[in-house]
């Protein structure tokens, strides 16, 4: 009995130490794996269709990142649900850094409408790459020369001014709603299937204004067909130095859409670090900045933590906004 007992105890010790060794051996390559990251190509999920603005930013970024990462980044478009399908895929991806995503402002919008399985806290921000403010634009032959005139008219005729947006619950709709809320006016918000049809409708004189970004009206502005009255940014835009911000007009409101690299929440810190460093280098690469400028997109790099603050701030703002509008679920 004694012998077997001792034997079994020895067997236990041996077994345990072997177990520890095996576990150690298993963790060691794991750690080395994270340090080696990336050892295979990285997939970048884009929640919108190929050829659109988000896709173009993603492809320009993937191109620029080639120089700064040992492995290439491949762009994969997962469209549907106004971005919900792709963003869900990013959230649910294995957090090993091989499936990263192009996060957009919809991360802070869709969860409140009850149409998404994720919340803003399911993502770790890596880098914001681009941001576009909302702007109030009217027809060039409209009677409103300044933002004050426009606002006075809207106040005098509540519900008469029709503002086109890119879809109910989309960023430009909320921008116009926020403007109405801050200034105590009421607009007639008309949703379109994207920003382009809204601009077409404005050109045809079927609506009074649009709240889409400056980039989406730039060619009609250049041709003198439209007039931009104000932008909802902290500072004036470089491309449109004459257009005042709402802040200058005493209205404390900034609304912008943004696009940036995000990863699932549980991604190891070492992988996040590698991606942050590489993203910073890629975003600051002149080729990336040139590519964005060519597409009329505004370069707006922000490092992970700073990007995270923007996400949290927007999330709180839009949640309050949508609750007030009765859109939140």
């Amino acid at each position: 009995m004694k012998v077997t007992n001792r034997l079994s105890r020895r067997a236990l010790t041996v077994g345990l130490s072997a177990g520890v060794l095996i576990a150690g051996a298993a963790t060691l390559p794991g750690a080395a794996f994270a340090a080696d990251y990336p050892t295979k190509p990285i997939e970048l999920i884009v929640p919108y269709a190929a050829g659109g603005g988000t896709d173009l930013v993603a492809r320009a970024f993937a191109d620029a990142a080639k120089k700064h990462l040992p492995q290439p980044i491949g762009v994969v478009n997962k469209t549907g649900g106004g971005g919900a399908v792709g963003l869900t895929e990013i959230m649910a991806a294995r957090p090993d850094g091989y499936k990263i995503g192009m996060g957009t402002v919809e991360i802070t919008l869709l969860p409140h409408m009850g149409v998404a399985r994720f919340t803003v806290d399911d993502f770790t921000p890596i880098a914001r790459l681009n941001a576009e403010p909302s702007a109030i634009t009217v027809k060039a032959d409209s009677p409103w020369k300044t933002f004050e005139e426009f606002l006075d008219y809207a106040k005098a005729n509540p519900g008469k001014v029709r503002i086109g947006n890119s879809g109910t619950g989309a960023i430009w709709h909320l921008a116009a709603e926020a403007l109405a809320d801050k200034t105590g006016t009421s607009f007639n918000h008309v949703p379109f299937d994207g920003a382009n049809p809204a601009v077409t409708s404005l050109l045809g004189g079927h609506i009074e204004a649009v709240s889409v970004s400056p980039a989406e009206v730039s060619s009609q502005l250049a041709a003198g067909q439209l007039r931009m009255l104000a932008i909802m940014a902290d500072q004036r835009q470089k491309a449109f130095p004459d257009v005042p911000t709402l802040k200058e007009k005493g209205i404390d409101l900034t609304v912008a859409t943004w696009r940036g690299i995000v990863v699932p929440k549980k991604t190891p810190a070492a992988v996040v670090e590698t991606l942050r460093t590489a993203s910073k280098a890629a975003a600051e690469d002149q080729s990336f900045r040139d590519q964005l400028a060519k597409m009329n997109l505004t370069w707006a790099y922000a490092d992970g933590p700073e990007f995270g603050q923007v996400m949290q701030k927007d999330n709180a703002f839009f949640k309050g906004m949508m609750t007030k509008l009765g859109m939140a679920k």
Binding site: A50, G82, M113, P191, K294
Partner: protein, 509 residues
């Protein structure tokens, strides 16, 4: 003729740029292949090629993309005619008569007619783009939500003329399509409807449904047929229709091209709508409307001229206003912007040389499409000689791969296969599939624009009768729906007046 001079110098510039011509050829070829494969549409082809054009000079890059666009619109017709697999939504209309012609052993002439009509419609639209762009640009702006709604209602009324043998069954299929079209995100309020919690269903998976209803259903059907080959005349026979035959169709081609151009200019309406409208009007003006749906060459000609007529119209709006009317031109707008050319009212003023070189290149693309198309038809026609044991699996694989490629989504494959099974039984019980496709295109357009129009008018229904374009389109829609009934009623009265004859209505009983 200032434009003519510019065009001539455009041709001269183009001739000195052989690389651009070569890339245009590559683009057209790729486009035809992409168009012919189910699921891969011109939009996708253009989007995939876009990154490759970054490094090219503007003319080469843009011509390659234009080539893919044009070839993609045309390419869908080849498989639609040969196998009843529409590669693109527009080709679903071509399949109506095209496949019937193949069944009759006239695949060659059908393909030739489709190629020739695509070429004519497309070329006409580019000429309109070159010479009349500034005049027509304003027309796009006349189109607001009420007009788009009326156009969609008119589109829906076409169900009456593509129903085939039984109007009732066609209407049932059409309403089925409308019901399916209500699934997804509410276009105005953004709330999900009938999605069962699947985010994948927020947008109606339209192309998977179409691939399933046509291609997969056809593949399932061949499984039950014991013959080794498809049993259609294996030899293509004559490819180019003889001149007297084609001359009779020229009126149809001209009318369809015109319709295609106008519909192309309208924002939000594309080649699919153009093909169906052109088919409907061809039937309306035909002296033998009863042949439509049973293999009428003019039906194929109308669809193809209409679909390709759209290309120039869509480009016109995009180039002159800087606003893309559909998904393809949206990607092309990106391509132009990347090349440093900002589409919009200033484009023609600031970059006239370059733009007219592009126009010259587009005409070259269409000629290339004609040549490549005609030259490859014999080769493509071999498909019919393939044993079914090879062809059917290949078709099913293409259906699955093509469906997956749209959104990289396995869910869509499930939708496609379900639609395939539904389509199989619809064929068995003689329900036409085209009305479903048409309703899926027009239903969401009608709904969104009706509600948008109400929003624009603050809830007043006045837009239904105070806007001229809306009134005209709605009236035409009502006529399209009622005319066949009136005709039948008159025929019925004539019959019953003849002494001793029993009424056809009674015979049915």
């Amino acid at each position: 003729m200032h434009e003519l001079d510019l065009l001539m110098s455009g041709f001269a510039t183009l001739a000195s740029n052989p690389l651009a011509l070569l890339l245009a050829l590559v683009g057209v070829t790729l486009g035809i292949v992409i168009g012919a494969l189910p699921g891969l549409t011109a939009t996708m082809g253009v989007a995939i090629l876009l990154p490759f054009t970054f490094g090219m000079d503007p003319v080469s890059g843009l011509l390659m993309i234009s080539g893919v666009f044009f070839g993609g619109v045309y390419g869908g017709s080849v498989t639609a005619i040969l196998l009843r697999i529409p590669g693109t939504p527009a080709a679903a209309a071509t399949a109506l008569d095209g496949f019937e012609l193949t069944r009759k052993g006239m695949a060659g002439v059908a393909l030739g007619t489709a190629t020739l009509s695509s070429f004519l419609g497309g070329t006409a639209s580019i000429f309109v783009l070159i010479f009349m762009a500034p005049i027509l640009a304003g027309f796009a702006l006349e189109f607001s939500a009420p007009e788009s709604f009326a156009l969609a209602v008119f589109g829906l009324s076409i169900i009456a003329s593509i129903s085939g043998r039984s109007v009732i069954k066609g209407l049932i299929a059409g309403f089925l399509g409308l019901l399916i079209a209500t699934v997804g995100m509410d276009p105005m309020d953004g709330f999900p409807r009938f999605t069962g919690g699947y985010t994948e269903l927020f947008n109606v998976p339209f192309i998977p449904v179409m691939i399933g209803l046509f291609a997969a259903a056809e593949a399932f059907k061949t499984l039950e047929d014991p013959k080794v080959r498809l049993g259609m005349a294996a030899a293509l026979g004559r490819i180019l229709p003889d001149w007297p035959t084609y001359r009779r169709m020229l009126g149809t081609v001209a009318r369809s091209s015109g319709l295609g151009i106008v519909i192309g200019i309208i924002p939000g309406a594309g080649a699919d709508i153009a093909a169906y409208v052109a088919y409907n009007e061809a039937k309306r003006f035909s002296r033998t409307p009863e042949n439509y749906g049973k293999g009428e060459l003019a039906g194929v000609a109308a669809c193809e001229a209409g679909a390709n007529g759209c290309t120039g119209g869509a480009l016109l709006t995009m180039l002159t206003l800087g606003i893309p009317g559909d998904a393809v031109t949206a990607v092309m707008l990106g391509a132009l912007t990347l090349q440093g050319l900002q589409p919009g009212p200033l484009l023609l003023k600031d970059h006239a040389d370059l733009v007219f070189t592009l126009f010259a290149g587009m005409l070259f693309c269409y000629v290339a499409m004609l040549v490549i198309g005609l030259a490859s038809l014999r080769f493509m026609g071999r498909v019919l000689q393939m044993p079914k044991s090879v062809l059917t699996p290949v078709i099913l694989v293409l259906c699955i791969v093509g469906t997956y490629a749209i959104n990289n989504s396995l869910f869509d494959i499930g939708v496609m296969l379900a639609a395939g099974v539904a389509g199989y039984f619809m064929q068995k019980w003689d329900f036409p599939a085209s009305p479903v496709v048409l309703a899926l295109i027009m239903g969401p357009m009608a709904e969104a624009n009706f509600r948008r129009a109400l929003s624009l008018s603050s809830g007043s229904y006045d837009f239904l009768y105070t806007r001229p374009i809306t009134v005209v389109l709605l009236s035409v829609a009502v006529l399209t729906l009622l005319l066949p009934l009136v005709k039948r009623w008159r025929a019925h009265r004539m019959e019953s007046r003849r002494p001793g004859a029993t009424s056809p209505l009674h015979q049915i009983k």
